[in-house]
């Protein structure tokens, strides 16, 4: 980032150059702005709603972050989620498979798709963009071939649990939070822990930075990349269960824009699309920023098509600011 910083290094400078600072500032400004626009905005329940609305994309974006850190990209995540969702629902409803087993098989399907992505990227040396673009179409087709009906899933607690809420706060300000929101935030913490506190995590950054140096350091880079794609696939499987829990149904049409939405969250969170730099907690903030804008603009009565417009502007702005700040200090 800043080559000149070795001469004038202060803790404040260190903090300001952390990639997480941009998203934090954006989040604070957005919150302040929308608070002035609507008195319904700054309430516990509204924030809980925002989190609920980003639970699925946020969870998908955890896997996306892991893959982007290795200098890859995943265009197939929403479709993998859709397949896992339809599989875990149909096995239970149509085939009478016990819910626990059906859900586990849905997770396994997600991991299986990820494994195939990882194998194609490493063993055939195909670009991740191409592999996951192909897998996007394949998973989309397989989902439709397998089932085109939307199944109501509200009869089994296994499928609805993460949509249920618990409350806290005083009698006049009860805030309801879904278990799904808690699970997503927990998964973000697990991903943060692995990335920042374990060898595997640091090696994921190293691969994205300089794959050849990582290999020469004695690390089996193929195995690590395959592991990342497989783990991401498993996370998409979990996102599938969260999607069912949030909507109460398994919809074969779900997740079609999720790939770009998850990339948006990653980019807004300050992770570099070139790999090796970034922070998974930034991705959580990135997802929340999108959620806050959508929610705030809805409360202001702005038509939903403008929310897309603003999301687009935000992404370009975020990357532009990142590029400019890097250039000026490099």
């Amino acid at each position: 980032m800043s080559v000149s910083s070795s001469s004038s290094r202060t803790p404040i400078r260190d903090i300001l150059t952390m990639p997480i600072v941009g998203p934090v500032i954006a989040l604070i400004f957005a919150t302040i702005f929308f608070s002035t626009q609507s008195d319904r905005f700054l309430t516990g329940n509204n924030f809980s709603l925002i989190v609920q609305q980003v639970v699925v994309v946020g969870t998908l974006a955890i896997g996306q972050t892991l893959i982007i850190l290795t200098a890859g990209i995943d265009l197939s995540n929403g479709m993998i989620m859709a397949f896992a969702q339809v599989l875990m629902a149909n096995l239970f409803v149509q085939n009478g498979v016990p819910p626990f087993l059906a859900i586990t098989l849905g997770f396994a399907a997600g991991a299986g798709f990820g494994l195939i992505n990882g194998l194609l990227v490493t063993k055939l040396h195909l670009p991740p963009f191409i592999v996951t673009l192909g897998m996007f179409n394949i998973a989309f087709a397989l989902t439709r071939i397998y089932s085109i009906t939307t199944l109501r899933m509200t009869d089994s607690a296994w499928y609805t649990f993460f949509g249920e809420t618990f409350s806290f706060g005083g009698e006049d300000a009860i805030t309801k939070v879904t278990y799904g929101s808690v699970l997503m935030i927990f998964l973000f913490f697990v991903a943060w822990f692995v990335l920042s506190q374990t060898a595997v995590g640091r090696r994921i950054y190293a691969i994205g930075n300089n794959p050849e140096a990582t290999r020469l350091a004695g690390i089996n880079t193929d195995r690590l990349i395959i592991g990342v794609y497989t783990m991401a696939g498993l996370i998409y499987g979990i996102a599938a269960l969260l999607q069912i829990a949030r909507t109460g149904s398994a919809d074969p049409q779900a997740g079609q824009n999720a790939n770009l939405e998850s990339i948006t969250a990653v980019v807004l969170g300050g992770t570099s699309l070139f790999g090796g730099r970034g922070n998974v907690m930034g991705t959580l903030l990135g997802a929340l920023i999108v959620g806050i804008f959508r929610n705030g603009l809805t409360l202001m009565g702005v038509k939903s098509i403008y929310q897309w417009l603003i999301t687009g502007i935000l992404v370009i702005l975020a990357v532009a600011i990142d590029q400019l700040s890097n250039r000026s200090s490099a």
């Binding site: 980032m1 800043s2 080559v3 910083s5 070795s6 290094r9 822990f193 506190q197 374990t198 060898a199 595997v200 640091r202 090696r203 950054y205 190293a206 930075n209 300089n210 050849e212 140096a213 990582t214 020469l216 350091a217 004695g218 690390i219 090796g276 730099r277």
Partner: protein
């Protein structure tokens, strides 16, 4: 150190041949490095310097010939095998991960985990221990740096190369191989890296160094291995020969 006494080579290659299709990169090449010495390898482009060094560091497997460590045959199928024998390599293209900090780069692939369940179950890194050890290694080499938490990309080219050298010095127990350690550096930075190499060697570790830079080779080497057409044609003492002799041998204009 009496470097002239003939002793068992620490690392030796005998009759190494390596072909790439119809191209013969190494044609029965021999090589040796003795305890405590700095052995330079020079040769014209295509003489097989890099191929030789890759065979010695495990980066490629020769078609024929033998590699011996302390006079015992050793088989290197990968750089990891060579490392197990205590042979570390500093690669030419500054083999570091730029966004990771100095400590993380030094311990990349050899991270230390915390003791107890935090390490065994949660696989947590012992960042304190790694920082302490990295700081020790750096101060042993009198290599000054602002902060060990600096990302390597904030360092100058010479400092980065320094980190790569310090890393290999920290883990090598037998030999360090350096491929063009000063190639990408300016005059001052080159001097700094050569100093560092000397300090590492003062600790007793033998060093193999490939370089195109004749003044650097003559400044630092105890002996010079001259490679020509895939073979060793001579090993000279830089005190007995000068640079023009070395170039003449290298190009085949002179034989000894």
């Amino acid at each position: 150190m009496s470097k002239q006494v003939v002793t068992t080579p620490v690392l030796e290659a005998r009759g190494i041949t390596k072909r790439f299709g119809s191209v013969v990169a190494l044609d029965g090449a021999d090589f040796e490095v003795r305890p405590g010495e700095i052995m330079a390898i020079i040769g014209d482009n295509g003489a097989g310097k890099s191929t030789l060094i890759k065979a010695l560091s495990g980066a490629l497997v020769p078609d024929e010939g033998q590699i011996l460590v302390n006079n015992k045959p050793a088989e290197f199928r990968s750089p990891i095998d060579a490392r197990r024998y205590g042979i570390e390599t500093v690669y030419q293209d500054l083999a570091v991960a730029p966004a990771l900090n100095i400590v993380e780069n030094m311990f990349l692939g050899r991270e230390i985990r915390r003791s107890g369940f935090l390490g065994t179950i949660f696989r947590m890194l012992d960042k304190k221990q790694m920082l302490a050890e990295a700081t020790d290694h750096m101060s042993e080499l009198k290599f000054r740096i602002q902060s060990m938490h600096q990302a390597v990309e904030t360092l100058s080219g010479g400092q980065r190369q320094g980190v790569a050298v310090a890393r290999s010095a920290a883990f090598a127990s037998k030999v360090i191989i350096m491929d063009e350690p000063t190639a990408a550096l300016g005059v001052k930075e080159s001097g700094m890296v050569l100093d560092l190499i000397r300090k590492v060697n003062d600790g007793g570790l033998p060093i193999i160094i490939i370089s195109h830079n004749m003044p650097h080779v003559f400044e630092i080497a105890d002996r010079i291995h001259i490679q020509r057409l895939g073979r060793r044609v001579a090993v000279i003492d830089p005190k007995e020969y000068d640079m023009s002799d070395a170039v003449a041998i290298m190009t085949g204009a002179k034989e000894i």
